[in-house]
């Protein structure tokens, strides 16, 4: 285990037991987040990235269940930690940013209160007034204009971008080591999105926090990330540094994704689309899950491939690259 690994996920499995059958939302996922890096988890709907992000701090509700695996945070397995200890980590060492800030903020409490509450939850001796002061300080750092006034505002009085900044402020209030951001910019306008992306980068640069950013937007990935993990149907299909992934995408799914994204700076003649659609998670095909849609599928693909190292720091799960 690298000492530079802040978070190590090993063979994580999260299954959902529904009336219709067992949904293997996360099925044997292993990856790591290093100190001071921004790791992006990319995938489309149903690939399991959101479930996986919640499973890290055991926030999976029935009918979902964490079936097996390890989540090592600074060497401690979070999945085996008693709830009391885990509560100390949530919101302090590991914090979350979500897609829709409107539903995360309680409409009955002011923006400042949200941050102050987080601060007080994890401090034993602080007074409310001190926590409030800290909240205003953090608002200033996340570039919320007129922080004293905004702290007294209620969520419905704030715009989408402003709310997201409040959420980010709440997330960094206790200087966490890891910030997990689940589609933080999807609901925002382009110009606001750019500002929030700068903020996320500053989390790494100014606060030395690691960020696990979950998104389906490849533009955001290219702008913000250091390393990327690509998920498909509950499994990781490729992992690499961002430049490597874009110049040398190995897995056919990654290639398909990159060719399917329109680029505002280039005139593309034809977008290459991936044939077919995401598999039914209850009735998964045998072998490689991408097999039915893969243009390079061959006989071996009836066996499920494993994640192997293609080159240093570039992993891929595909039989095309068997040794």
């Amino acid at each position: 285990m690298h000492s530079s690994n802040l978070l190590e996920v090993k063979d994580l499995r999260v299954y959902f037991y529904t009336y219709a059958g067992v949904v293997k939302a996360v099925d044997g996922v292993s990856f790591s987040v290093r100190r001071g890096e921004i790791l992006c988890v990319v995938g489309e709907t149903g690939c399991g990235k959101s479930v996986m992000s919640r499973a890290i701090t055991r926030m999976v509700k029935p009918p979902g269940k964490i079936v097996s695996g390890e989540v090592l945070f600074n060497g401690i397995d979070l999945l085996k930690l008693p709830e009391k200890e885990l509560k100390k980590i949530r919101g302090r060492e590991i914090s979350y940013i979500y897609q829709d800030p409107g539903s995360v903020l309680d409409p009955l409490y002011t923006a400042g209160f949200h941050v102050a509450e987080t601060v007080l939850t994890h401090s034993s001796s602080m007074k409310f007034s001190e926590a409030w002061e800290k909240a205003i300080r953090i608002f200033r750092e996340v570039l919320i204009p007129d922080p004293e006034a905004k702290a007294k505002s209620y969520p419905h009085e704030l715009s989408g971008g402003m709310k997201q900044r409040v959420v980010i402020a709440t997330a960094i209030a206790n200087t966490p080591k890891l910030v997990i951001a689940d589609e933080p910019t999807t609901a925002l306008d382009v110009t606001v999105q750019a500002q929030v992306m700068e903020l996320i980068k500053s989390l790494r640069d100014k606060y030395s926090s690691s960020v696990m950013l979950i998104t389906h937007n490849l533009g955001v990935v290219a702008e913000v990330c250091d390393r990327v993990v690509v998920m498909y149907a509950g499994k990781i299909v490729e992992a690499a540094f961002i430049e490597e992934l874009f110049t040398n995408p190995l897995h056919p799914y990654t290639q398909g994704l990159l060719e399917a994204v329109p680029n505002p700076l280039r005139k593309i003649e034809r977008l290459r689309s991936i044939h077919g659609s995401v598999p039914n998670m209850i009735d998964l095909p045998k072998g490689c899950r991408f097999n039915p849609r893969c243009p390079y599928a061959f006989k071996l693909c009836n066996e499920e491939p494993v994640l192997m190292e293609y080159s240093k720091d570039h992993l891929v799960s595909c039989w095309l690259y068997r040794r």
């Binding site: 533009g219 702008e223 659609s277």
Partner: protein
């Protein structure tokens, strides 16, 4: 494009929504505030903007789903606002629409068969065609199969539902199709399929698209002309390649600079124009040029004068003090 025939012409379109206070009208949401543009035959005009810019209201105005306060909408030389009865039905037949949300744009209690039959029935086409045959061919055009006719919308994925919505829009062989963010809620790979399909159908049926979106990548891929909207006004419009290669209006530059580029090398090497603040509410737009509080090139006059669209190059218009 070989033809420059104007299919749709919009002049000085205005729509303000009153905000009611307790006893009187508190103010107006100036959703669309003096918009003019043309759409040419067999081309796609993209209307881009962020939330609150009025593009969705504009879409509804064009289709005459809401009535404008001022201005004219001329379709094939005919003033749409003056249409009624049979002529209005004619207009409805020649225009199709695809909405953003695939989950609420199809009646959950109707089968696909009934959904696709409805436009044909409404316009009295049932006697002229073999219905079953026609519907099957329609479905196949959008990549679905005959079996799907007897299912209900909730049995389909988002991408499939949008295909059904597109099939519905095409059922009457329209000339103009208005698409309001049709792929925004879809995955990347599904989006690519739908965009390609739209491109092919446009070429095959010689359709004119008015495509509303906030995604500049889609604009570059699909559109021939683009109009950039900000707070109810068009700030720049012209051929897509022109506007993207040589953006004139500061807002267009800011947009192009802010949009995430799916290429890490370009993303990290380019210089970003810093824009401050957020899009203000259309309830109280800034005085003069609406962009001036956030504009990195703002001059003192910008808060006083409202600029009109001026043609700077062939078909490339911009409304900014820097070009007058």
């Amino acid at each position: 494009m070989s033809t420059t025939k104007v299919v749709l012409e919009v002049r000085n379109l205005r729509k303000w929504f009153p905000v009611k206070g307790v006893f009187s009208i508190k103010g107006f949401v100036k959703a669309v505030d003096g918009v003019s543009f043309e759409a040419y035959e067999e081309t796609t005009l993209a209307i881009v903007g962020e939330s609150g810019c009025g593009k969705t209201t504009l879409a509804r105005l064009i289709l005459r789903l809401i009535e404008p306060d001022e201005g004219s909408i001329i379709y094939n030389g005919v003033d749409v606002m003056k249409l009624s009865g049979r002529k209005l039905m004619e207009f409805r037949r020649k225009t199709g629409v695809v909405f953003q949300d695939p989950y609420s744009s199809l009646n959950p209690r109707m089968t696909i068969y009934e959904i696709l039959k409805e436009p044909l029935e409404t316009h009295g086409m049932l006697k002229k065609i073999d219905l079953d045959d026609y519907l099957v061919k329609l479905l196949e055009r959008v990549g679905l199969q005959k079996e799907h006719l007897y299912r209900y919308p909730h049995e389909f994925s988002g991408g499939q539902r949008q295909r059904i919505a597109i099939a519905r829009a095409l059922a009457l062989s329209p000339e103009l199709v208005v698409l309001d963010e049709p792929t925004s809620s879809l995955d990347v790979s599904v989006q690519a399929q739908i965009l390609n399909m739209l491109k092919d159908i446009q070429a095959a049926d010689k359709l004119t698209y008015i495509f509303i979106t906030h995604d500049l990548g889609i604009v570059r891929y699909l559109a021939h002309y683009v109009a950039v909207m900000y707070l109810g006004k068009i700030v720049e419009r012209g051929p897509v390649e022109e506007v993207f290669e040589k953006p004139l209006h500061p807002y267009t530059k800011v947009l192009l600079s802010a949009v995430p580029i799916p290429d890490p090398f370009i993303a990290r090497s380019r210089t970003r124009i810093k824009v401050i603040g957020e899009p203000p509410s259309p309830l109280n737009p800034p005085s003069g040029c609406r962009f001036h509080p956030r504009c990195p090139y703002a001059l003192s006059d910008c808060s006083k004068r409202e600029m009109k669209l001026v043609e700077v190059e062939k078909k490339h218009l911009v409304s900014c003090i820097l070009y007058s």
